[in-house]
Symmetry: C2
Subunit: 351 residues, 2 copies
């Protein structure tokens, strides 16, 4: 492997001093970029793009050509694991992901097999390996997975949901069954992320997109406990470096202290949390990643710069801040505004 030329992101994740805040954007390889849309139309549908190693590699690298980003993130989907379990993932334009065979009964769950990434999801590890090689040490590569609870919501509902009626009914009426499902998912995620680390991922992030829909008590029992299990099961070092783990529960700002106690290295924050208060709460346990509302990117450059400064001021001095959005960049954003954002982080965080 080539030597890493920019380790700003890895250092900040370990709360070591850096010359300026590293920055990347969730969903940075995405529909807001015309070059992404061109590659996507070449591939056909979204999953065909994920499964095409060369094209998945190409779109991963696209935002790095435009912007001075400090990390690349594998181009893939959070629902590859349930797809590999045989649920039949598909996308309907403008409707989000759906499963042909949702998981609803005890027998559905008993029949699910913990995945073997090497055989079931080789297209993901192939992409990781190719991206890492093509990056050639330019910036570190982030691997990722959905959290067990988040995967479970899609698997049970069969699609996106507003109130998670079926998933929560199972959680409250058949908690043992839900635990059985979450356990299989946690083991699958461990295998999946370790395969990504072995393939070349230098950081991993767990996306708990729907943990914030749970009650205080249910979050700990049904989402956080399984993320903690995953953190405990991951490969700790690769290429002689620590492999930092980032936990991101959208809407999880109430639970930062508990999240910081899982053994992870950093927490992703959405924009509802003041990052300065978050830092005071977690102390020196973890680094913090975030947390500008992606909606700010619709505003004029001066407003974008002001919001970046405001977040930097709130974080204050000290190590351990990775600048990011509080959720994925949306398809309607002007790519020039993303540049204003990234350049503003460079300019205003320089020591």
């Amino acid at each position: 492997m080539s030597e890493l030329k920019n380790d700003r992101f890895l250092k900040a994740l370990m709360r070591q001093p850096v010359d300026r805040a590293p920055v990347w954007m969730m969903r940075q390889a995405g529909r807001y970029l015309p070059e992404y849309r061109a590659t996507r139309s070449q591939a056909g549908d979204f999953m065909s793009l994920c499964k095409n190693t060369e094209l998945a590699c190409a779109v991963t690298l696209q935002p790095l050509e435009r912007y001075e980003l400090d990390a690349a993130i594998l181009f893939s989907d959070i629902l590859t694991i349930p797809d590999a379990m045989g649920l039949g993932l598909y996308f309907e334009e403008g409707e989000g992901p759906k499963f042909r065979k949702p998981v609803r009964t005890a027998s559905d769950i008993e029949q699910l097999q913990v995945i073997n990434t090497a055989s079931d999801l080789a297209y993901v590890t192939d992409a990781v390996t190719m991206i890492r090689r093509e990056l050639n040490g330019r910036v570190p590569l982030i691997g990722f997975s959905g959290s067990p609870w988040t995967l479970a919501t899609y698997m049970i509902e069969g699609q996106s949901s507003r109130d998670f009626a079926r998933a929560k009914t199972m959680l409250y009426t058949q908690p043992e069954l839900m635990h059985q499902l979450l356990d299989k998912l946690a083991l699958s995620v461990i295998d999946y992320l370790n395969a990504q680390i072995n393939g070349g991922a230098q950081v991993v992030q767990i996306f708990d997109t729907w943990g914030g829909a749970l009650s205080h008590a249910a979050y700990k029992e049904f989402s956080l406990a399984y993320m903690q299990k995953i953190v405990g099961g991951l490969i700790k070092q690769a290429d002689g470096r620590d492999v930092p783990v980032i936990l991101f529960t959208k809407g999880g700002g109430h639970w930062l202290e508990a999240m910081a106690d899982t053994g992870c290295h950093a927490l992703g924050l959405d924009w509802t949390v003041d990052i300065g208060s978050a830092k005071a709460r977690v102390g020196d346990k973890v680094a913090l990643q975030g947390n500008m509302d992606p909606a700010v990117l619709r505003a004029d450059p001066a407003t974008i710069e002001r919001e970046v400064q405001s977040i930097l001021n709130s974080f204050g001095s000290g190590a351990g801040h990775i600048f990011n959005l509080g959720h994925g960049i949306t398809p309607d954003i002007n790519p020039d505004h993303a540049k204003v954002f990234i350049d503003a982080v460079h300019k205003f965080s320089a020591k």
Copy 2:
């Protein structure tokens, strides 16, 4: 006016001791009740039901016939104010509220008139007066309104939204325009809630359903500031009693301290917050209302009882807890399960 026979709710809102926790449910007059569905089909569509004084009164009282509730809440919609402003509210089955004329430009906002409840929304105050008379002192009557920010999101988007793209674009690119809109809405809400108080409402609640979608800083500037203005403009006493004000920002658990400083009497909590921690944070400034996940009502009676006990235990001893769900009861709930919930609050909170 008849003398109030059950003042448990009013006392708890003022943090005075009561024999057991008062309980009501958001959306308690609603589609989960067969008698509601019967009255609704008699009225025609949803807004015809809201505008029919006798039928709106009838559905308000229906849940009190089934359950030992400690409050009634006016049957109406949060979007009556923008409807009265001429935006043309309508409902499409399964799609939520929509406006025929959304508000998008400076000229749209300039043309909006602060409402005069007496002339524009007499159907609401007529319903309040009739309900209060029919209640005959049985329990107190709650009036309500949407918060300015929440009303603004629907007015700008023209319908429900996931990411509030248009509303947030206006907020970040034309903040003065957004403030102009919010100010007209705040003045309208003051007039509207005062008319409800004059008509007989003994408590008022402000529903800030979408405040939780804002960043920490934007929430204070664009939602909380206007709720504070409303609290300051409301009639303080009626029938020789204080008229308590409840603020409910869904997803607002980060901001309880600031909400408690508005001069309101109680905060509504969704289920993501631990009510014991919330109590420790707001001290003796306000009462707390909440906070069971309505999804728990899909579970078996033993689970419902256990969740009620868990919330009561978390709140602990001391005055100022009004038991409620963390959001509205959903149409799929079995009415017998609502009874289990209400009876459990009675049983387990009795001193």
